[in-house]
Symmetry: C2
Subunit: 281 residues, 2 copies
C-alpha cells in the first residue's frame, strides 16, 4: 500500500513511475519467496480533484509493470477519498511447493548473502532532495534516479529451483531492519559483518557529501530491493554459479538466538545492531 506523503510525493514522481514502482515492489516480495508473479488487483483511493492525466498515467504505469513481469491485472477498485492518493496493489504468485522459500527457515551456521550493493536507493534519494533544496535545477547529473526497482526475479528463481536457500527476504526496509525480520521469523540470531557490507563508490561518495557514515547508509538505507539470502556454507559455490553475473556478497552469519542481532565492527568487536531501518509505518 503506497500512500501519498508517506511513500511518495506526487510533485516528485511521475504517476507512470509510481505505477511501475508499485508492481515492481510487490514482484520483489513474490520473488523473495521463490515465486513468479501471476495476477494483480489494484485499488486506488483518489481525491475528487485528481487530474484525469494523473489517473491515466498511474494506470499506464501499472499496465507497464504488469506487462514487464508477465502479470495479468484481474481486478481492483477505485474509491473517493478526502485524503492522500492511496494505491494498494495485491499481487499473487505461484511457486512449486518444494521450491517455496520462507523468511522463517534460516538455521544457525547459515551464511547471510545479499545480491547487490546496499544503500544506493537512499543515497540517490537524499542527494536528489539536497540538490532540490539547493534549487540547483540546472544540475547536469542524472536525475531520473531509477525510482523503479529491478526485482531479482531470475536470480531468486535460480536459487529457489535448486533449493539452495534456507530463507530469503527482499530488502525493502534496509538490511538492518530486514535481517531482524528474517531472524525473528526463523527464531535465530545474526551477526552482520560491517566490514563486508557492499557499498558502491558512488554511494560512498554520496554518503561523504551528505555527511553520513557509509556503513550507516548500507545498513539502514531502504528500498534497494536486493535479496537477503540465508544458506549453508556448502551451497555457496552452487549459489554463485546459479547467480551468474549477479554478485552474491557474504554479509554475515546466522547464530544462536541468544546472541540477538549483532554487528561486527572492524577489528572484531561485536555490538548489538542498532534499531533503525526505514519504517513503512
Amino acid at each position: 500500500m503506497l500512500v501519498e506523503g508517506v511513500h511518495f510525493r506526487l510533485e516528485a514522481i511521475d504517476p507512470l513511475e509510481l505505477g511501475r514502482r508499485a508492481l515492481a515492489i510487490s514482484t520483489s516480495d513474490i520473488a523473495a519467496m521463490g515465486g513468479s508473479p501471476t495476477f494483480a488487483l489494484t485499488s486506488l483511493a483518489l481525491p475528487p480533484d485528481t487530474p484525469l492525466s494523473t489517473t491515466d498515467r498511474l494506470y499506464r504505469g501499472i499496465r507497464d509493470g504488469a506487462r514487464r513481469f508477465g502479470v495479468s491485472v484481474v481486478g481492483g477498485n477505485v474509491a473517493r477519498t478526502q485524503g492522500p492518493v492511496t494505491l494498494d496493489v495485491t499481487l499473487l504468485g505461484a511457486v512449486p511447493r518444494d521450491e517455496l522459500v520462507l523468511r522463517s527457515g534460516a538455521q544457525v551456521g547459515d551464511l547471510l548473502l545479499v545480491t547487490g550493493v546496499l544503500g544506493e536507493a537512499t543515497a540517490r534519494r537524499l542527494l536528489l532532495e539536497q540538490r532540490k533544496g539547493e534549487a540547483a535545477a540546472e544540475s547536469n547529473e542524472d536525475e531520473d534516479g531509477g525510482v523503479v526497482p529491478e526485482p531479482r526475479i531470475a536470480l531468486a528463481r535460480a536459487i529457489a529451483s535448486r533449493q539452495l536457500a534456507h530463507a530469503m527476504i527482499d530488502l525493502s526496509d534496509g538490511l538492518a531492519g530486514d535481517v531482524r525480520h528474517l531472524a525473528r521469523a526463523s527464531g535465530v540470531g545474526a551477526v552482520i559483518d560491517e566490514e563486508n557490507l557492499p557499498v558502491s563508490v558512488r554511494a560512498r561518495r554520496a554518503a561523504e557529501r551528505l555527511g553520513l557514515d557509509f556503513r550507516e547508509l548500507a545498513l539502514n538505507g531502504g528500498e534497494d530491493y536486493e535479496l537477503l539470502i540465508a544458506l549453508p556454507e556448502d551451497r555457496l559455490s552452487e549459489a554463485r554459479e546459479a547467480a551468474g553475473e549477479v554478485p552474491l556478497f557474504v554479509v554475515g552469519t546466522v547464530v544462536a538466538p541468544e546472541h540477538g542481532i549483532l554487528v561486527e565492527r572492524f577489528g572484531g568487536a561485536r555490538d548489538p545492531l542498532p534499531e533503525g531501518g526505514w519504517s513503512h509505518f
Copy 2:
C-alpha cells in the same frame, strides 16, 4: 476499498462491524459470480494517532468475517497515512469453470430478478441519521441497524451450480445503478417495472417519514447486497425451487440495446431510467 468519511464514519460504526462488513461486501461480489470465497488479503492505512483498540477491533472483525465465510486471511499490509483510515480487502474465490456467472451474459428476453426487498439499507441509514439529528438518543427503536450485510452465497451457488442464470450482479450501488452495469456489460437494454419493485412495509413507512418516494428508495438505495439475476423465463420455476425460502422478485426484462435502460411506470408509460444510484466515487 473502504475510506473513512466516504464509506463509513468511525464515530458511527464499531470497527468490529467495519471489519465484518468489509469481508461481507467482498464475499457478496464473489457470490454474484457463482463462487465461494477462499483467501483474503487486507491492507490498512492508519493515521499515527489511531488508538490500538480501533486497530484491534478492526482486525477482529476481519477475522470474524473470514471465519463466517470460510476464508483464510493470507496476507496484507499496514501503512501510515496522514489521511483517513482506509481499508482495502482483496478477496479471492473459486468457482467451477462451467458454473461461473458474469455480469456480461444477459440476453434479450431474459427476466430480471432480485433476491429480496430493496431500499432497506438506505432507509435504515437515513432514519438513523435523522434520529441522531433529532438527538433522540433515548429512542427505544432497534439501532444496531444490521450494518453487516448478509451476502446471498448459498442462493447464488444454487443458481450457478444449476446453470440457470445468464448474468448476475450484486446490488451495491442500488438497482438503478447496477442494472445499468449489467446491461452495459451485456450490451443489452433493460426495462424495470416500477410497480413490481419489492419494498418492505417498513421501508415504505420510512420513505414516508423521510419525505421520499418509496420507488425512488427502491431504485436508488444502495448497499442491499441482494442479487440481480438475468435468466430466461423458462428457467424461472427451477430458479424458484433452487432459491428455497429466498423470494425471487421479477423486476423487469432485458430488451434490445437500442431501447436503453427504461423504467415502466404504473399504467405502462416508459421513461428512461434516471441516472442516480449511490456512487462509491
